[in-house]
């Protein structure tokens, strides 16, 4: 039995880091950088340990379990009313690993930040703590608590360190995107808020402990009413169509590291929430509503893919491709069968690393050229072959090339989908082909062809960026070539999910 303090440390360490950074003087920028880099490394190490230490032969239950009572025996709260309950199952384990990887990468990528990098890292670490917390907490209250913690720093992160951009037909100021992102996410979370109230009230157990609530049998009518609250509430964060518009704009305006963390990890919180709150808490509701989710998810996949083909801005393209790929995740969840849900979780990880890679790479160029319009670039491969290489691999991963993370995930999802909704599966595969279209157009447009002398003085990525890229790429290949460790962990827990056939 592993100690739950491993999980707690993933939350406490970043928070402590943030607290310490408050004390660091504004002008000691390098102290901040080193501190953050170290914290990132430590978190990465812990997450790796947690991932591999999770024992696959124990039936996929919660491990690293820990509970500290927080607020109890007062007002409507019974014993263990609200408790700091932590623990991960095979679904959360890969997510923890993902967070560790991306957070470390983000910390390294943000080395370049000059303007108040102290503030940036404070918010950044709060964000990371929130993400870890959501993935690991087994208490309804704290699940939501950390969920909101993860949304909270977004506004400032984007509005202060982000970038406004002007396009032919319209323009997006960073303040606008930041505000839209924050308000939409919080607005969505009120649905979860209400759902939680309803669940607690209905169960009448006087506790927010998830396992207790899982044990309680909610009546079907109730489940059917409340389930949509959770799914849409979490779905918005997962970029569920048609509530996705915060995502492309937000990514376009956000600074590199935030885009990485947001597209890479935060959107996963939504899908994870659908599993934890939706499927696990209200299985009957899930089985009733999943066809609906499948339809929306299919919209996501196709819609996102088509929208992406029309984009000329790198980040917009990646943003819409994220919408498309998160659609695949939702698709997998909606199948409600083991292959599909496995695939969904795999895709959460895969998409996390590849989209993080994308944003990291784009950032490394954008910082030098201050434009992301792919038409202005040409033949970049001659100037920065490594950049093109990493970008290319990420692109291939996202179009589901075998041997990279994307394929194994999409493959599982499609197997699952074909078992239940073949039409949706066919559309999904079609959209995956569309991915090839826009990814390759982007490459042909801006990486190959005659070199545009305008960028004669562009430099190859810095060593930190290369490090980050290698880190992310490594995880991509690892999962692509040897998915067994992931699937062993995931499938055990997935099969425990109620209502999953």
């Amino acid at each position: 039995m592993h100690s739950g303090y491993w999980l707690i440390s993933t939350i406490v360490i970043p928070l402590i880091a943030a607290a310490v950074l408050v004390g660091v003087p504004d002008d000691k920028k390098d102290v901040t950088r080193w501190l953050s880099a170290i914290v990132g490394a430590v978190l990465f190490a812990i997450s790796v340990y947690v991932f591999f230490a999770y024992e696959t032969d124990r039936g996929g239950g919660y491990q690293f379990y820990h509970r500290t009572d927080w607020l109890q025996n007062v007002a409507f709260l019974g014993p263990h009313g609200i408790a700091l309950t932590f623990g991960i199952d095979g679904i959360a384990a890969p997510m923890v690993l993902l967070t560790g990887v991306v957070a470390f990468g983000g910390a390294l990528i943000s080395w370049k930040i000059e303007h108040h990098n102290k503030d940036f890292f404070i918010l950044f670490w709060v964000l990371v703590a929130g993400v870890f917390g959501t993935f690991t907490s087994l208490d309804l209250f704290f699940f939501f608590f950390f969920y909101e913690v993860a949304v909270l720093p977004m506004y400032l992160l984007i509005a202060v360190w982000g970038s406004s951009s002007v396009f032919e037909t319209f323009s997006r100021t960073k303040e606008y995107s930041a505000m839209k992102l924050t308000v939409m996410l919080v607005a969505a979370s009120i649905l979860i808020f209400l759902g939680i109230f309803a669940v607690f009230h209905e169960a009448g157990k006087g506790t927010f402990d998830l396992q207790t609530l899982y044990a309680y049998q909610f009546d079907d009518r109730f489940q059917k009413i409340v389930f949509p609250l959770f799914v849409i509430g979490c779905g918005v964060l997962a970029g569920l169509w048609p509530f996705h518009t915060w995502s492309p704009d937000g990514h376009v305006s956000a600074p590199t590291a935030v885009s990485m963390l947001h597209a890479g990890v935060l959107m996963k919180l939504g899908a994870f929430g659908i599993i934890r709150l939706g499927i696990q808490l209200l299985p009957a509701g899930a089985t009733f509503w999943m066809p609906g989710l499948m339809i929306l998810a299919t919209c996501n996949v196709v819609y996102g893919a088509f929208a992406a083909t029309a984009q000329r801005d790198w980040k917009y393209m990646i943003g819409y491709s994220s919408v498309s790929h998160m659609g695949l995740v939702l698709m997998g969840l909606a199948t409600m069968n083991v292959n599909g849900v496995d695939g969904a979780v795999l895709q959460m990880f895969a998409h996390g690393v590849m989209t993080a890679t994308f944003f990291a790479m784009v950032g490394s160029v954008y910082d030098q050229t201050h434009t992301r319009d792919m038409r202005l670039y040409s033949g970049m491969v001659n100037k920065m072959p490594l950049f093109v290489f990493f970008m290319g691999v990420a692109g291939l991963a996202s179009l589901g090339l075998p041997g990279l993370a994307g394929f194994i995930a999409e493959f599982n999802i499609f197997v699952g989908t074909f078992r239940t909704y073949p039409w949706a599966g066919a559309l999904g595969i079609f959209a995956a082909a569309m991915t090839a279209v826009y990814i390759l157009r982007m490459m042909a447009m801006s990486f190959f062809g005659p070199f545009n002398e305008k960028w004669a003085d562009v430099k190859e990525m810095t060593y930190l960026e290369r490090g980050t890229a290698v880190l992310l790429l490594g995880s991509m290949l690892f999962m692509g070539l040897y998915p067994a460790p992931f699937i062993d962990r995931i499938q055990e827990s997935v099969r425990l999910l109620p209502g999953v056939s």
């Binding site: 607020l71 007062v74 007002a75 409507f76 108040h116 506004y155 303040e175 308000v183 607690f200």
Partner: protein, 481 residues
């Protein structure tokens, strides 16, 4: 009621307050060489000391002639009000020096008003309640108009005064009707006589309740009795705005809880829906209109109206749980709000403005204040790590448990709206750059200290409220006896 207890020692804290008030005035009059700032320190420290003194009565459940109850509820609010007043006094040192005359009277009035507030929380009898309310109100009428030569301050004063008088007349008429139907002014006896069944005087009872709600609604600024709030807040000296937005509201709620818990809980069905309706209107209007404000004081006024809406939900579904949740939220709101106002006051002292647009570049010019501002605003918006999240969560949950789903829906939606305008303030403070030649400001240590301490308070409530909540839960158990 058999043998009445006339133990005057129960009021030692109040005597001390009165004494402190006199002392401050006297110092101001007879020892002119004392630097005026010292008055604020004396008042502040004195108030804190008195807060300490009032702790003596913890768990001594007793009363004075059944008129005033000295129980944990009273004790809690004694501490609450004295501390609030202390913060206001301390934070207004420089403000008073720059902008106001008669500092002695200024602090004295704040202290005296605290007595009124405590009376409202403590009294279990209508007359006492009414008089305490007037004591608080009168002091506030004066304080709001204290900036004699500022037209806005005068205007705020007259508006608050005339409307206040009007509202309290309504309140009184309500009391008279209640007295008429129950024949007594003791909460406990009112509850008794209502038990008998209200069929033959339902209308009088309802009218009475409506009018009482009018009076108290005016005090706590509930729609549609809120109209004075933004104007008074804007006109008043900024420290007094802080005081208005915390103490006078809190006192109003203390009274509401005691009165409706102690006297009218029996006829819950007759009034809970009224309060529910008022609460809904208040939440919606407060948060919507706040979107349009450009003056920080008016913004805070409307945001406070919104908060009142949330708290009224707790009254609507009044039960021990909701009462505890409400007081918890009230406390969290007080701390966060004071934190914000300390920042506003400090900024006002240094830049002489309270337009939101002029907050620009606060991050550069006064980092700590900016940080506190952000934290406190997040807290008001109800985001985690800060007090607001926990208190709102518990309050809303209790409201749902009381069966008011629809109120909870409105509340959550409007709190998203509120996030929007809080973020707008934050945008000025963090995103916008200071204009040319606006360098770093030297913030007085006192202000920084206050802001910091209050921020710690926000974090305490936000991160480990167990003891506080236990205390509150225990305190509120006394309002129903």
């Amino acid at each position: 009621m058999s043998q009445l207890n006339y133990d005057y020692t129960l009021f030692i804290p109040e005597y001390l307050l009165a004494g402190l008030a006199v002392l401050v005035v006297a110092l101001d009059l007879y020892v002119p060489q004392v630097r005026k700032a010292w008055l604020s320190y004396i008042a502040g420290v004195g108030l804190l000391a008195i807060a300490g003194v009032s702790l003596v009565w913890i768990n001594k459940e007793t009363n004075f002639a059944h008129i005033v109850a000295i129980d944990n509820y009273t004790t809690y609010f004694r501490v609450f009000f004295t501390v609030t007043a202390a913060v206001v006094c301390l934070s207004s040192a420089k403000l008073v020096e720059d902008k106001l005359r008669h500092p002695g009277e200024y602090y004295a009035l704040i202290i005296l008003s605290t007595i009124g507030a405590i009376g409202m929380a403590a009294s279990r009898e209508l007359m006492t309640a009414y008089l305490s309310l007037e004591l608080l109100s009168f002091s506030l009428y004066i304080l709001v108009g204290f900036q004699k030569f500022d037209k806005k301050s005068n205007e705020a004063g007259i508006k608050y005064l005339l409307l206040g008088a009007f509202a309290s007349a309504m309140f009184l008429y309500g009391l008279s009707l209640i007295y008429g139907v129950t024949g007594t002014t003791y909460y406990s006896q009112i509850a008794e006589s209502l038990k008998a069944g209200t069929s033959d005087y339902t209308f009088a009872l309802l009218m009475g309740l409506v009018l009482i709600l009018t009076g108290l609604g005016f005090k706590v600024a509930a729609v549609p009795f809120h109209m004075w709030t933004p104007d008074a807040y804007e006109g008043a000296p900024v420290a007094i705005t802080a005081y208005l937005s915390t103490t006078s509201k809190a006192a109003g709620f203390a009274l509401l809880l005691r009165l409706f818990g102690g006297a009218f809980q029996g006829v819950h069905d007759d009034w809970s829906w009224m309060i529910a309706g008022i609460a809904a209107a208040t939440m919606i209007l407060g948060n919507l209109v706040a979107l349009q404000q450009h003056n920080i004081k008016r913004l805070m006024a409307y945001s406070s109206i919104g908060q009142v809406g949330y708290m009224l939900m707790g009254v609507a579904g009044l039960s021990h749980d909701t009462a505890s949740a409400l007081v918890l939220h009230l406390t969290g709101y007080m701390v966060s709000n004071m934190a914000i106002f300390v920042v506003i006051i400090a900024w006002h002292n240094m830049t002489g403005t309270d337009e939101i647009a002029d907050f620009r570049g606060m991050r550069e010019r006064a980092p700590l204040l900016a940080g506190v501002l952000a934290g406190a605003l997040f807290s008001l918006a109800g985001l985690p790590l800060f007090a607001g999240f926990v208190t709102k969560f518990i309050l809303f949950q209790s409201v749902v448990d009381a069966g008011y789903y629809w109120l909870a829906v409105i509340a959550t939606v409007t709190s998203v709206v509120s996030l929007y305008y809080y973020l707008q303030v934050m945008r000025q403070a963090f995103v916008e750059k200071p204009s040319e030649g606006e360098g770093a400001l030297s913030v007085p240590v006192l202000m920084n200290g206050l802001a910091f301490v209050l921020m710690l308070g926000v974090f305490y409530i936000g991160l480990y409220p167990q003891q506080l909540f236990d205390a509150i839960d225990n305190a509120t158990s006394f309002i129903f006896v």
